[in-house]
Symmetry: C2
Subunit: 782 residues, 2 copies
């Protein structure tokens, strides 16, 4: 059971608690209580093992491919969180005996996860237990855990088994060679593993410290080396009522770390081992509390920069926003542009750590508008992925860059797996066509890039990376569009749009409009570069044949078929859409779980119905909203929403923002709550494979785009707030053209404070407003 | 808690029961209740999952190598035993709620494993549950399980999740590609996996049948395809007090099956899939009881042939003998000579399914003397391994065949891993030197072979395979022995004898004497072949240069140093033995677990003490007993036993037989009990990695060699019984020169019945006796 009000007033809206342990729902808290720092993510599997756990530690960018039949994925590194306690011969497990006063608390403010309980063993002996852990935000290579045991009924012999467990896999796929194991000074355990195909070495050091009360304690220490396993068996004699405390410290380095980028493989391993050993030795000289206070300071600074505050009648709204911000900030590497954002962040094995359009369309806006440095890293990641995108285009017979639907390591190219779940009709796994057909990702990258440039004005980025991406993606679309003699127009046939319940469709409106946008950006890029004398301009003019490229792009753009609203104002999602059959969606909309329609129909059958997994045309209405008049947007929103199952975590935030745009405040608020429910709500199974990063970005979009009314329109930042009835005030931060702004909204007014050193010009509730450095502008809301 | 008297009179001494469930001791019963048929072994992990389980299905001979850093091993095939029950939303698990009347019973007579219990769920609802399963002995590709649920408190919605789970690994090493999954008729689940390196395909089909009372039941069936996982989610509504029964049937075929040996890889897979599907369909037309009765009949026939009966005051002696016979009969392929016997049989991942000297010295005698056809397969396995043995010899600079210390697939050659557990001094894993230095295995193979020939007189085997092995191994020893100019003799330096607590020793007595025996056999082989005109003889004369080989073997044999007894009659285990330090072994002999000395000393230190892991010189005294007078044997037995920790399962049976030989009846009986304790006794951790096959053979040797007094001496079978005080009678079967004999012993007399068609000549209690077909001979024992 999750609880969102834990009863510490000064911590209100910072804590999420689990108030009882249910073995069936472990995946939920493992994911939503995931710890991390962008360098790695550590699922919150409990210290002691239970059936059904997924003990993941995913280190950003360490992709490996198990075999030729699988795609590359983020490998599950050896587990360091497992710590087994044998108390007077009885293994501590909440499965057995009686557990009382159970409370597990995730503190979003500090990044610390704690658990406390009173355990009565099967034989009737009582113990008070307390656990805590964090992944350091100040030192990304450092993890720490703490376990405290207090025997309440007489003395106790405690045995601890704890170390580094390399037997973990990704659902059975083992990505690591066994590697080497070593014990130093009968204290420090080292395991160095290497991935089987990508040859990334992961070097872990773990060590324990023991205390009886406040005094360092010594016990019998026996290191155990087993297959893929290195652990310490420590035995202590405890006295009643005196707390016995274990600190477990771990350092994580990999041969892929930025610091070692220029080293040869063997040198990188040696350096990772040396650095890991030095850091664990240094950590052993201090203690959990000191290390934690350093990390906590880093979190405090981050919250100072990123927090959103809301005064809401919705009891969990404030907490939900922080929950999303917490996850947005642990999923992305802020220093290493070789890494994207996985669809589950670093919180689970789902989607194999791959980056989808979720990044550009759902999470990038948060970074672009609040942490432009991180946004730049994410766009650089796409630049580094250009070779893979060029390869994919060439393999499919196109020019330019065709971005992978699923992207992993920078040079992996397309990494979408080929087979999915069972087809209930044929009994065979369903082929996954998205890698081939879901082509809008290329236009999404261009869209995200242009938004980044618009918001930041980052000319350096454009010269180094940005223009080239726009040109390559424009070239792709120019080659991709097919001239149809019969209709005398270019079409984009045989694709999957955002709505994955439809495949092999022609002229998906979202895809075609976004492709046109991409072509316009490429043409715009050439205009700008033509007018420039920069080194970048001359490099790109050499690399691309502007005259020819311009001609191609313009020809396609001029004649590209853009589906128009029919007599009812509805834009057909794709060719022949209106001929599809109607289906009563009630059972699936009420199913309480996603994908329930597949229990009745297979993919081929679903393709014949007017039913959608998620927002499709509706996303278009949001991203390119200046292309469509308000009444068209409204009609299409209602039409498509009624046919949408919201079986994707990418659906509700778009609907929320659009509903808010359309003045449907309460509907928007309901969708905002729905976004929360993706990971945060009562359905305990939804996050098993990891949290939904698009949903985290979506929650931010609901608040800032939807209710805050922030939008990048043309060259401008527009703020037109529309708070829902339940919200009385909202305060958030933005960075526009490098100037930090604080936006405060309440029922009556909008204030924007410019904390930067330069003036900014904004559209506040439709009125162009210039705000000088240090000044505040405000306007009244009707 | 294990219980050996389950209270069914007619089943007395056939059943082993576990009377309560202890999650810490799962490994014990998983191993000792292992089911199998020589084609595959299935550990007895419970249907529902628990922490600490090892869910192994090991298919004989399907060896695979995970990577270049590991050695080949028997891969853990997908698990089919898991079957989860959700009863009114509560997952059945004995961790939770209250379990009463728990009884798990292994029926050695029928090969069926059953479990029954009364479960009160956490919410207080009561259910009666019964489970049974068997691995068919009559159809080796077939496995069956049965689960019965009776709700006792009102109706119940039952959800079953059960199928094929390919997420299992060998301690984290995944040997299989994910492979293909398919569902037929919404009923039959198929998973076809292939090993990553050896390209062995394993094809599993699983299907369920459901009954309410005696009536077939239909429920909602939903196949679930997940990563490496294919299962059926079935939902049924149960009525109170009406038993609901699930039958789960599985077929197992591999591309390595004998039947497909001549097929190309793809054809073998296709055939395995077709045969598996046909068999599961056929099985679905019958039922668990029918299939079980066929398997039970095969077991009855086997017991008729193999049972040993004893009237003993030792309450568990009879059961222990059957326990050993049961395991001896499920560990070995009786049809496929491409497979040896793993040191843990097919009951666990320990020793990776590899064959050691355990086969020839500990388990082969059972097969040679009771199932010569199986013994022949095992010796053919060594013949098929000759290439690997020749390769090992060449790699080490020797001639002939140097058998691998650890043997896996026939052409794998040496497969001993390179690193073991932690060195407590250096903190690094201990190098495993046995693959290089424990060379006596080659002589052990020759010894076992010659015993097989002596017992069976199998000329066909010798001509096809046997002589060649003797010549190649003789050649090896001739090249291996080192001429020492100083001492004017050949020596065998830098080896490990049977006692693995000593490495890098010179002139290990066991090794040198056994090498001499091997050389004698090679010379003898040449004598016989020289006198023959057979095709085999001319082939071998062409292959080997007899004159040269004879000269080499004779020269080495004549001057090979064979350590002689010192003034106290003690044969030094190796050079310099008497200079080693004494060590008080009391703590390690009383430790209750093996290897405890490694907690105080590392290998280098242990090498400096007079301490032994296991019988070494004592094995020599048993195998080549005609070389040593009785007093020397006696003195050495006492001397070395006092210095032996019996930290190997290969130790006590040798001591038992030798003690019996020396008239130390009660000591012998104590060692027999000790053999039982290896897998059968109160120490719950000993069998976690699998049962000890050498110990199973050793138990048979205790009874038949030790108390039955059976020995192959020269060309003769000698029977000189010495029952311990606790035993009043003993009856066992032997096959001598193809003639089945029944041997009955009691306090007063020995009877031998010849059930064959030819007369046999034996030494009964020292007296040569001829027994005509169908006749019985007897003699009085003093």
């Amino acid at each position: 059971m999750l609880q969102y009000h834990v009863g510490q007033r000064e911590k209100e809206n910072w804590l999420i608690a689990e108030t009882d342990f249910d073995i069936r729902h472990q995946g939920k808290c493992e994911a939503i209580f995931c710890l991390g720092n962008g360098y790695l993510g550590q699922r919150a599997a409990l210290e002691e093992k239970y059936v059904g756990q997924t003990r993941d530690m995913l280190i950003n960018g360490t992709f490996n491919r198990f075999d030729e039949q699988e795609v590359t994925e983020l490998p599950n590194a050896a587990d360091v969180t497992n710590l087994e306690l044998i108390l007077d011969g009885e293994r501590f497990s909440m499965d057995s005996g009686v557990t009382e006063n159970y409370l597990r608390v995730m503190d979003l403010q500090t990044g610390e996860l704690t658990r406390s309980l009173l355990w009565t063993s099967p034989s009737g002996k009582r113990y008070r237990l307390a656990f805590s852990r964090f992944v350091s935000l100040s030192c990304r290579h450092l993890l720490a855990q703490q376990v405290q045991v207090t025997p309440l009924d007489g003395p106790c012999r405690l045995q601890m088994d704890s170390g580094i467990d390399g037997q973990v896999t990704n659902c059975g796929s083992q990505h690591f060679h066994e590697g080497s194991k070593r014990v130093f000074d009968n204290t420090i355990l080292r395991m160095t593993q290497q991935t089987t195909q990508s040859r990334v070495s992961v070097c872990l050091h773990t060590a324990h410290r023991f205390f009886l009360g406040d005094t360092p304690a010594t016990g019998k220490m026996l290191p155990v080396i087993d297959r893929r396993l290195l652990s310490m068996r420590a035995t202590f004699d405890l006295s009643p009522h005196i707390p016995f405390r274990i600190e477990k410290l771990t350092t994580v380095f990999t041969g892929r770390d930025q610091e070692y980028m220029d080293l040869a493989e063997q040198d990188a391993i040696a350096q990772a081992e040396a650095d890991g050993l030095a850091l664990i030795k240094k950590a052993l000289c201090t203690d959990y509390d000191t290390l934690f206070s350093e990390s906590r300071k880093a979190w405090a600074a981050l919250w100072e920069q990123t927090d959103i505050t809301v005064a809401s009648e919705g009891a969990e709204d404030q907490l939900l926003l922080r929950f999303a911000l917490y996850h947005l900030n642990i999923m992305a590497s802020k220093t290493d542009s070789r890494m994207g954002i996985g669809a589950k962040g670093l919180s689970g094995e789902g989607y194999k750590g791959h980056s989808f359009w979720d990044t550009e369309i759902f999470t990038l806006p948060y970074f672009t508008l609040t942490q432009p440095d991180t946004a730049r890293k994410l766009m650089e990641y796409r630049y580094l992925g250009l070779d893979g995108a060029r390869r994919k285009a060439a393999e499919n017979g196109f020019l330019g860059a065709m971005y992978p639907w699923e992207a992993a390591w920078i040079d992996d190219g397309e990494t979408t797996p080929l087979l999915g779940a069972a087809d209930i009709v044929t009994g065979k796994p369903i082929p996954i066509l998205t890698g081939l057909l879901e082509q809008h990702i290329t236009a999404d990258v261009a869209f995200g890039l242009w938004q980044y440039y618009t918001v930041t004005g980052d000319q350096d980025f454009m010269n180094r990376y940005g223009w080239e991406i726009l040109l390559e993606t424009g070239l792709f679309w120019a080659s991709r569009a097919e001239w149809q003699e019969a209709s005398g127009r270019y079409e984009i046939r045989d694709v999957i749009g955002p709505d994955e319940y439809k495949d092999h469709v022609n002229n998906n409106a979202y895809t075609n409009y976004m492709a046109a946008h991409n072509l316009r950006l490429a043409l715009h890029a050439m205009d700008i570069l033509d007018a420039e004398e920069s080194a970048a301009a001359s490099r790109l003019k050499t690399q691309f044949h502007f005259a020819e490229l311009r001609e191609k792009c313009q020809a396609v753009l001029d004649r590209l078929y853009l589906p128009q609203p029919d007599e009812n104002g509805i834009i057909p999602q794709f060719d022949g859409y209106f001929q599809l059959k109607h289906l009563d969606l009630t059972p699936y909309r009420n199913a309480g779980s996603v994908g329930s329609i597949y229990q009745d129909y297979n993919q081929d059958q679903i393709c014949t119905f007017q039913v959608h997994k998620q927002a499709d045309t509706v996303v278009l209405l949001l991203l390119l909203d200046d292309l469509f008049p308000a009444d068209i947007r409204k009609k299409n929103y209602y039409f498509y929403e009624a046919r949408t199952l919201h079986d994707s975590s990418l659906s509700k935030s778009t609907h929320c923002v659009l509903a808010a745009d359309l003045g449907e405040d309460e509907t928007a608020y309901r969708f905002f709550e729905g976004c929360g429910n993706v990971d945060f709500g009562p359905n305990m199974g939804t996050s098993d494979a990891g949290i939904h990063t698009a949903s985290m970005g979506g929650i931010w979009q609901c608040a800032v785009y939807g209710f805050g009314g922030v939008r990048v329109i043309g060259e401008d930042l527009q703020i037109r707030p529309r708070l829902p009835k339940a919200w009385h005030s909202l305060r958030f931060r933005l960075v526009w053209r490098g100037q930090p702004l604080t936006v405060s909204v309440n029922d009556q007014s909008l204030q924007v404070q410019n904390q930067g050193g330069q003036a900014v010009s904004l559209l506040l509730n439709g009125v162009r407003t210039e705000i000088q450095p240090g000044a505040e502008a405000s306007c009244t809301l009707s």
